[in-house]
Symmetry: C2
Subunit: 371 residues, 2 copies
């Protein structure tokens, strides 16, 4: 097989994997193809949590078509698992299908698997080649990396700002910085996450609904509010009065908040108290609680202090910036990121721009942390 063929087949496996993206949590999205005589003959991907793994899907697809899998090579974006989980190990299925060659995109970051699946297949006489298009394959499962290694949700951050980095005027006005099409994209992003997270300032200023306002969706991500002090009268807010069962407050572990908890409980609002860190909530504790309670994707929607806090704690995995072609010109306007002190440019946090595209008059920029 030529290098070029190998890359082409892995690319197809990658594009299959993407179909499952967002539905497999806390499993990774994985894609697989079987090839024979230089042609792709069967395909599979992990469709959603609990369903068959990609390798098994591809083998099943081949069998349905009456293809002799013993003459096939397998391309899979992620190392096959070698342990019993929700399904039997994929290594077993590969051996049963008598596949002699396995091309792996990247090893599994999961310590239960890492290298073990590949090694086991090799011990059984299978030719195993890895890594192939490793960066792309790792990029596919950045969410899985958060879950498996960091034991925390994958955090998206979304902001809409002017060219001069303002997300609202000094009086709190922000309707609307970004264009209609941009705002619709935000609702699509909301529909893919388990929770939409804001700070207490945004709650007080914007009194937001945080719902998904799209046709044809039943998605209702929870509303998550991070605030040092619980508000005394939560029903003055839309979330407290209209969505109490879908709202979670995180606040500081202190006597005042302890006292307030009961009134929140009576309204049906969940409250989690966490310790203080850097003069705010310990965000790692927040992240850990969310993960333990099956929140796999969280969308942070600001304000600027929350955005800065998550970023400088290395808790933002993908940052969507809707840059509107507008100039506010007012230094008192609210910055997209604030709350720390920078003495030099070296104190800035450097990101990597992954994508940029026009959304009507706005520009959507997607950033990731640097490796």
């Amino acid at each position: 097989m030529t290098d070029r063929q190998i890359k082409t087949f892995m690319k197809m496996a990658i594009s299959l994997a993407k179909k499952g993206k967002g539905k497999t949590a806390p499993n990774p999205c994985v894609g697989a193809v079987l090839t024979k005589d230089g042609q792709i003959v069967a395909k599979g991907y992990h469709r959603k949590y609990g369903c068959a793994h990609a390798e098994v899907e591809a083998i099943t697809d081949a069998k349905k078509k009456g293809i002799d899998t013993s003459k096939c090579s397998l391309f899979v974006t992620l190392e096959p698992c070698n342990h019993y989980g929700k399904t039997p190990p994929c290594t077993k299925a590969i051996l049963e299908a008598k596949i002699k060659e396995v091309y792996i995109g990247t090893l599994d970051p999961n310590p239960k698997v890492n290298g073990g699946g590949a090694q086991f297949l090799q011990q059984q006489g299978v030719k195993v080649v890895y890594p192939i298009l490793e960066k792309e394959c790792q990029n596919l499962i950045r969410d899985f990396y958060c879950w498996t290694i960091q034991k925390r949700p994958f955090f998206y951050l979304k902001l809409a700002s002017t060219i001069d980095g303002k997300i609202a005027t000094s009086t709190g006005a922000s309707n609307w910085i970004s264009c209609e099409k941009s705002r619709k994209l935000v609702h699509k992003l909301r529909s893919k996450v388990n929770g939409v997270l804001i700070g207490g300032g945004t709650l007080r200023k914007d009194n937001p609904k945080l719902t998904v306002r799209l046709k044809h969706t039943s998605s209702t991500p929870k509303a998550i509010i991070l605030t040092k002090h619980l508000p005394s009268n939560p029903i003055q807010y839309y979330l407290g009065s209209k969505r109490p069962q879908e709202t979670i407050f995180f606040a500081l572990q202190n006597k005042d908040n302890q006292k307030t908890i009961n009134s929140f409980k009576n309204l049906g609002i969940k409250t989690i108290l966490v310790p203080e860190k850097d003069n705010f909530l310990d965000l790692y504790k927040v992240a850990s609680w969310l993960f333990q309670n099956q929140y796999y994707y969280i969308l942070i929607e600001g304000g600027g202090f929350i955005a800065q806090s998550f970023f400088f704690n290395h808790l933002v995995d993908e940052f969507w910036l809707f840059l509107a072609p507008k100039i506010m010109g007012d230094q008192a306007g609210i910055s997209s990121f604030w709350g720390r002190k920078a003495n030099s440019i070296q104190d800035c946090l450097s990101l990597k721009l992954k994508k940029h595209r026009k959304v009507d008059q706005d520009l959507l920029l997607i950033f990731q942390p640097r490796d």
Copy 2:
């Protein structure tokens, strides 16, 4: 001739016009082609100020090739002139060449010409068609529009900012927000202008050279500083001590500055005093002086107050933003635009994003004012 042919020929004329861009001031850049039997047979453009106009260039090109111009159609991006200036009127050359058909991109905004050239040709029996690709042809001569109608230079603005709209830390540090390749582009832009303009704050904080640091260039744009109060000891700055003859200060018309002028004159530094407007210098007076003194292209390089003042006075024609993928997170950092009050998003100035492209890790965004 088909619509498609007409557009194709005009596009060729436009790309010819661009070759002269920046060298024709205060004349417009213009391109022209002659076509015969559906083919382009001759080309021309206005190479630089004082040289032949595009139409004459194209006719000369045709004659050199022995082509009978009386059988040709002329495509020209801008209405042919009908008055004696540095050269005889182009309408005369067209009639002498016995051209029967003239396709014009856009009419001349110059009140001395507007419609007159086209009308004169029609009166002489020439078929005249306009406008063709008018927006593109108008866009070519946005600089000429500034000179002819507004009697002011064409102003570029360049800024390098973080994602959160900061051009420096609160301590004034700004080395380096943008990447090396971006900074090189800035020097290229400097090499194309007659003056590089900054505010007094930038002079005091950065003590800049404002030179063109490129190999193979002899361009030395003047350094222009706008400040309410003239500094008492200008030789403490690079510009005052090393480039006095190439430096111009604009300051407020008041007694203090009047007193200081002489010491500036003794150092060889030019000083222009202008009236106050909106608690700063009257920028229209500055613009007018610059134009009258043959400054056709000016590059504004900040800081944020100068950038804001020029923009909100509608004196920025093209804005180059080098957006570095960095977050400062410090609200005390210096904003890319400051000095006014915005109470609502509607108070923002809306721009049009014309181009965006990666420059190494940065993103270069080019904005124009909205029509």
